[in-house]
Amino acid sequence: MQNIIDQFADTIRTAAERKAPLRICGGGSKEFYGNRIVGQSIDMLDVTAYSGIVDYEPTELVITARTGTRLADLEAELYGQRQILAFEPPHFGATTTLGGCVATGLSGPRRASVGAVRDFVLGVRMLDGRGDDLHFGGQVMKNVAGYDISRLVTGSMGTLGLLLEVSLKVLPLPPMEMTLSLQMKEAEAIEKMNLWAGKPLPISATCFCNDALTLRLSGTEAAVRAAHAKLGGEKVAEGTAFWQSVREQTHIFFQPGKSLWRLSIKSTTPPLSLPGQQLIEWGAALRWLISDAEVTAETVRAVAATAGGHATLFRSGESSVAAFHPLAPEMMAIHRCLKEKFDPMGILNPGRMYPEL
């Protein structure tokens, strides 16, 4: 496997000499997400050959794998030991890799109750823009030696380095899950989601859409049954399939072909008045908006900012609109400076996140 790393490092060094941009490619499943890489004659750096699980000890709750590993294979391995990636990363296709999962930093339905990808990343091995082989963090739960580079590169869209290996904390599969559905209006649903999140209840996912609040309870049988008794609601028979459809955006709400906005905001924000349809997740801290052209990016972003958050144009046919929420000038200055330290020649996925990076 070292020879593959050497090849990657060579490719990076050559690109750096020529100042020629590289497009880091995992499974190709999240092609729609983020901005297009800027530059001419972009070479592809395919990481899929660097795959396989390096170390997995179920009782240590840690798995280390190469980033070309397919997420599906990794999750199957965990499932065999009744463990999971608790942040439920979306796959958006069978070919998705661990590298793409960590580089995009996207998390699924369980995020509000257990945390995001970045909360489970314990360590990384990576090549920076000089082709240097670097390790940060480790395979242990607690580690404060040096700055937290592992989490810094999580969600950086491959602009700070090529991830080679990642160590993640894993969790046991909950002994029982139950999905409930309650009919109510949006304002009431937002209120309830916040109220219940402040109670010791085993709610592991929430979704509001079409006047129905769907909840998932996860935990011991006793806890799940007790919570059901407290909360009421109809049991949903196809619970697993429902959450899968929300996680993978195959739910009927996510109509392909239209612009999809992702607003990550303060959970107590009342219903947003924006034209289009909305689906709410993460205890009301995440609002998905399907809109036609009648609403401008500026409007959506202003609404998100007022609600203490930010808006991402998650899927769109329009490449003229920046995918990610603009940063304040002083924050952009820091981002540019960081990018320069990790990738002095600006060759790793340039423009994929922001044109300046």
Partner: protein, 484 residues
């Protein structure tokens, strides 16, 4: 700049009592919780607002004066050790809880607020701030952010980094930054994570929005005694292997148990090689269920005695000993030195065996308390600073423990930080390329290197002089040979 000129400049906007420079006023600031290192600062500044912090930093930036931040000074790695010709910036007076939002389950607080004060303010709403370092009555939330502190409940509820949403940070140049947001994530790079655990090297934290967690309906703890440390280690693995994430999972060895028993009289089993405390929390039904399973696993793992707390008073009593481990060490020995390595749990017996051997070799007693769930080991080396040579021997013993942690695939610090104390061991844990990246990150925020100079990341020159070998992450040179 002459110290008195700087004092005069600071006093243009700070009251006289907020700018200290007379040596008797400086004395209380000469060290943090690691009292082996002492240094009086040139000046102590005690701002009360973020605006004052900004102005202090601007003045220091212009005059190229080093600045060291200090919260409550409970740090155990010398992170808040002053700089002889610098300003010690105490955040202790920024101690207001600005807002508790029970519906959004957040609290916005100033950095000098004590960790426990947040939970106290949230308690009327059935909420609390989850990370609970043993120092929580004293330590500040700003210090917690700077060290990414954890507590006995962090296996289930996370460390500081998992429990904060937003920070206001002032850079050395006096620029205020908003990091994170009111939502669960923020655009751009994860600077919230980068700031957390950065030991006051990148900026001064002036405001923190923390997440609050609903208090569990009930908690109960199982105390199990083992006649062999290996069996106790296996019991921990067995609990986790059974799919249980306990709310707390702590271990003490025999020396630790005896020391704390003498201090708190809990009735711990004094013959046991190791005591395990394993807590379940949640709804009453959940706890009953989990405790029954934990009890069974402890039995199957060979526990020689098992007790389950019958009520809240008894639960707190069982914990009292563990929480008092440090003061107990202080009672059985004139001085103690607390280490903070983390290891993969499977290597526990091997590392403890190694520590025992070193203990004999150096003729110094060592008691071990262990955040067993997440592999964070706190060996407490007992020594007497007044015995010639003992402090040096102790430091060497400690350094060897840390090297052993690296070799076992772990790290030199789980939660106390590098500070000044573990700066040499950083040379063993990281390669020069990795250290260069750390310096580069530092330069992004503080190009002149004025914030907390000489801490957390060693210069490459220092590593060369220290002559430490880069122990390559657990890949031992002769893996087949017994190590310790």
């Amino acid at each position: 700049m002459h110290p008195l000129e700087l004092v005069a400049d600071l006093r243009t906007f700070l009251p006289p009592e907020a700018v200290l420079y007379e040596s008797e006023d400086l004395k209380p600031y000469e060290c943090d919780g690691l009292s082996a290192y002492r240094q009086t600062p040139m000046i102590v500044a005690l701002p009360q607002t973020e605006d004052e912090v900004v102005r202090i930093l601007q003045i220091c930036h212009m005059s190229k004066t080093p600045v060291v931040a200090r919260g409550a000074g409970t740090g155990l790695s010398g992170g808040a050790l002053p700089h002889a010709s610098g300003v010690l910036l105490s955040l202790a007076k920024l101690k207001r809880i600005l807002k508790v939002d029970p519906i959004a389950r957040t609290a916005r607080v100033q950095p000098g607020v004590r960790n426990l004060a947040i939970s106290e303010a949230a308690a009327p709403y059935g909420l609390y701030y989850a990370p609970d370092p043993s120092s929580q009555i004293a330590c500040s939330i700003g210090g917690n952010v700077a060290e990414n502190s954890g507590g006995v409940h962090c296996l289930k509820y996370g460390l500081t980094v998992h429990n904060i949403l937003q920070l206001r940070v002032v850079t050395m140049a006096g620029e205020s930054l908003e990091i994170g947001g009111a939502g669960l994530d923020a655009p751009g790079y994860d600077l919230l994570a980068l700031m957390t655990g950065s030991e006051g090297m990148l900026g001064i934290v002036t405001e923190i929005t923390v997440k609050l967690t609903p208090s569990a309906e009930k908690a109960q703890v199982v105390m199990a005694a083992f006649d062999d440390i290996r069996k106790a280690g296996n019991a921990v693995a067995n609990v986790i292997g059974a799919g249980i994430i306990p709310a707390g999972m702590e271990m003490m060895d025999k020396i630790a148990t005896r020391a704390v028993e003498e201090y708190v009289h809990v009735g711990y089993n004094l013959e046991a090689a190791a005591i395990l405390l394993c807590e379940a929390d949640g709804t009453a039904e959940e706890v009953a269920d989990e405790i029954r399973r934990i009890d069974e696993i402890m039995r199957q793992s060979g526990a020689i005695e098992i007790r389950t707390s019958r009520d809240e008073t008894e639960r707190l009593r069982f914990w009292a000993g563990r929480k008092a481990a440090f003061p107990a060490a202080g009672r059985v020995s004139p001085d103690y030195y607390c280490m903070d390595g983390t290891i993969p749990r499977k290597n526990l017996a091997r590392v403890l065996g190694g520590i025992e051997r070193l203990s004999t070799e150096y003729g110094l007693r060592c008691m071990n308390v262990f955040h067993a769930g997440d592999g964070n080991l706190h060996p407490l080396i007992l020594y007497d600073a007044n015995q010639p040579g003992e402090p040096e021997k102790t430091e060497e013993f400690g350094a060897k423990i840390l090297e052993m942690c690296i070799e076992a695939g772990g790290t030199i610090t789980g939660e106390h930080g590098v500070g000044i104390e573990k700066i040499n061991q950083m040379c063993s844990q990281f390669s020069s390329r990795e250290l260069k990246i750390f310096h580069a990150v530092k330069a992004v925020f503080d190009p002149e290197g004025l914030l907390n100079p000489g801490k957390a990341v060693p210069t490459l020159r220092r590593c060369a002089e220290h002559g430490a070998m880069h122990v390559h992450r657990g890949e031992e040179k002769f893996p087949g040979l017994p190590r310790f």
